[in-house]
Symmetry: C2
Subunit: 469 residues, 2 copies
């Protein structure tokens, strides 16, 4: 996020759009001339009410969390498909995907020495459970893989705690991913990490860990709060013996069926050319996954519904997708690639919204130079929303598999200040989404998808592809 | 807090101290002339290291929460008394206080319809438990006592939820205090409130409720999170039937012994005249009560220790106090009044720190006009800390009983932005306290106490007493 934000500032300083009114008349800007009226109409309709937020609240209140393998996920998918059909979207369907089913079960952690205290925690997705009766062991606190390496002899039969303060997600999440394997390698019996997030209120953050390394023992892994991790580090600094007790029933069940959900507006001239937009419908099993990522799904869905309601049928097809199993498997994105392999050459672009539907600044784009120039032109239509910035680099986990096969990819650029406060926590709920900001996300997705689907010439493939997201 | 903040801004704008260097030489300001060097020395010593923060961390990490009636509270008091003696403070002692012992026990709340979900909750201090097996009932959501009155017929045999968004503490806490009695009056079987706080991350806030009204049934009372309260209100708005299950083992045991802790620097000329400063050593049984109020106790204790270390023995006695049982009984403040009734006429002033040791702006003062003028003069010594504001109105729960008998009262004025984020939550931990800000609180308390204890004439009693805190 930090890197992107810096780029964003540079882009805004260098913005050539400071004389907007004159440019709106510019006859040399055919996209403006052709589409500004439609864009303004879309924006006005999207921001006229709180329809998107109400839908998001109904979805997240109504079904709660949607972990892969849960009944709630499948019932939420059914509900969306039913609503899409009732709204008149076309080719509404769920495409089958087999997904992993990891079950958290009962879990708790307790400090046993130097004194007794509950340690609020969340097991990491994919973790094994503890043996029946739990694990009780001394704790070794380290602040990096390097420190663990240098103190490896002290880790045997211990619970290793990685107390790593948040810098950015990419750096810090490495401990969530690799912590269990690295700790097991030096003989630890379990691993704890400081929750990955810049702020919390004694809030544990869950999330997936990397697959167990077959060369080492599979040890349970959980996140405790930043507050408690820092306290255990202080206790160790005082020379105190620290003992924790960990009980986790977490286990993996056989794969179960789920679905990628989708609904379309079929193109009026080139129905087999497709603009894809969406987010992931699964979530972690804490909170109700409103930011991560029901908001992204609802924004794409509402964008398509709005175009339908306004009677705006573009030349090409627009497909709103809710991918399944982003959080702990990526099976949805892979299944989409496999099911649509034959039509990927005619996928104009894929847009993913998975960074929270906060205040929108524009988009990131991964594709060739001429396509990038064209997307920048389209984004000028979003000037009224302040969402006309397009940076190099964009994509998402779910569209990664089709981007790898050449489909240009985009992601929304939003104010990410608070995203990682709520990410994978019980506090990821609809109240963290602002109705107006969500509506602006809907508007911008609708405009971008509509124009890219309607331009006389499809977004060109080829040219220098810069993939720095 | 809002009212005070507005006053604070006015006071700062009108500040007559913008030409500090010249004023420091002002021979017409005898307090400056006499005490600025000592004040500067105290400030330098207090802010030279993180001694106060380290002490606070050792206390809160070491003993955890300190609810009245808990072993942890008494062990924490023993530890402080031992440390005070080792540091050379005088008349170190614990004065006996019988305190209530309320025990939370197991508790949980679960949404049962329209779907199942855990509802993070905290029972309110003083609540009765549920009958064995819990209570399961339909929910009526209201947003005020008035709305409950107008829908009273719907409340019978229901769980009433007061979903009242935070405005300020005084207004909103009324629902924590009176919610159970008001709901019981119209036949409810339990009461839930939206947690009292402006921000949370699915964070319940506990706190004391008012005594049960003998005319109504004693029903269990608990706080749920703002997020879940808002969700239940939305569900009711959609016409959904809402059922919750509440299990609480909360119960009251017979009173048990506790202590007000204190340590002194005995005055060199008038040892029976006393400046009292302190906070409360008990806390709620969630988090570790660092902000509320171990920080206040440590600030007062460190202030006295620092004066002792610097060899600054004033004319009068300075007494650092940690009152017990502020949170759910106020027995400590009452016992102090009763034990010291004979010397209250010679209590120069009582200063309470119970608003979080955040960035200090100055003090609030309750007393006569001439005393107020004198305190304002003393506060000028704190200009180097930016803590020289003194507003009318100040006091605290623990010193309320002696203020009622005429002792002038003071409280610290701090940046209260985040106080109610953490107040009575599991997130009230030492990491929320900034070492530098705590050190500045220590410095200011030490200067204020030292000078008020050393002035040739004691702070005058009498005159117009404005008690608008």
């Amino acid at each position: 996020m930090t890197g992107s934000s810096q780029l964003l500032i540079v882009a805004l300083l260098a913005s050539p759009f400071s004389k907007l009114p004159a440019q709106r008349q510019d006859p040399a800007d055919p996209i403006r001339r052709e589409y500004q009226a439609a864009a303004d109409r879309i924006i006005a309709a999207a921001t006229a009410d709180s329809a998107a937020w109400n839908k998001l609240a109904e979805l997240t209140d109504g079904f709660g969390h949607r972990l892969s393998g849960s009944d709630a996920l499948e019932r939420a998918i059914d509900w969306i498909l039913e609503r899409m059909r009732a709204e008149g979207l076309e080719n509404v369907r769920g495409e089958p995907v087999m997904v992993p089913k990891w079950v958290r079960g009962h879990e708790r952690a307790e400090l046993r020495a130097p004194r007794h205290q509950e340690l609020p925690m969340l097991g990491l997705g994919g973790s094994v459970g503890t043996p029946p009766g739990g694990i009780e062991a001394e704790v070794l606190v380290v602040s990096s893989f390097e420190e663990l390496g240098s103190r490896a002899a002290l880790a045997r039969d211990r619970v290793v705690l990685f107390d790593v303060p948040f810098t950015n997600y990419g750096q810090t999440v490495a401990y969530r991913a690799r912590g269990a394997n690295e700790a097991a390698r030096v003989g630890a019996v379990a691993v704890l990490i400081r929750s990955v997030g810049p702020f919390g209120m004694r809030t544990p953050h869950t999330g997936a860990m990397a697959a167990y390394d077959s060369a080492v023992r599979r040890i349970p892994a959980a996140a405790i709060t930043a507050e408690d991790a820092a306290m255990l580090r202080r206790m160790q600094g005082r020379g105190q013996r620290i003992v924790v007790r960990l009980e986790m029933d977490a286990h993996q069940l056989p794969d179960v069926p789920s679905r990628n959900l989708m609904g379309e507006i079929v193109g009026r001239e080139k129905p087999d050319e497709v603009v894809v937009l969406g987010g992931h419908i699964d979530s972690w099993d804490v909170g109700t996954g409103a930011i991560d990522d029901a908001g992204g799904v609802v924004a794409a869905w509402e964008a398509v519904r709005l175009l339908h309601r306004l009677g705006l049928r573009p030349r090409r097809t627009i497909r709103a997708v809710g991918w399944t199993n982003e959080e702990n498997g990526l099976r949805g994105g892979q299944a989409y690639r496999d099911a649509h392999r034959d039509e990927l050459e005619r996928h104009v672009v894929a847009i993913e919204s998975d960074g929270g539907t906060f205040k929108l600044r524009g988009f990131g784009f991964t594709g060739g130079d001429s396509a990038y120039a064209m997307v920048r032109q389209v984004a000028r239509l979003l000037k009224p929303l302040g969402a006309d910035t397009v940076l190099r680099g964009g994509g998402g986990a779910d569209i990664g598999p089709i981007m790898a096969l050449g489909v240009p990819g985009m992601s929304h650029l939003v104010d990410g200040t608070r995203y990682f406060w709520y990410h994978h926590t019980p506090a990821d709920n609809v109240d963290k989404v602002d109705p107006r900001e969500l509506a602006e996300n809907v508007a911008a997705l609708a405009v971008m998808a509509y124009v890219l689907a309607d331009l006389p010439d499809a977004l060109p493939r080829g040219g220098a592809v810069i993939r720095d997201y």
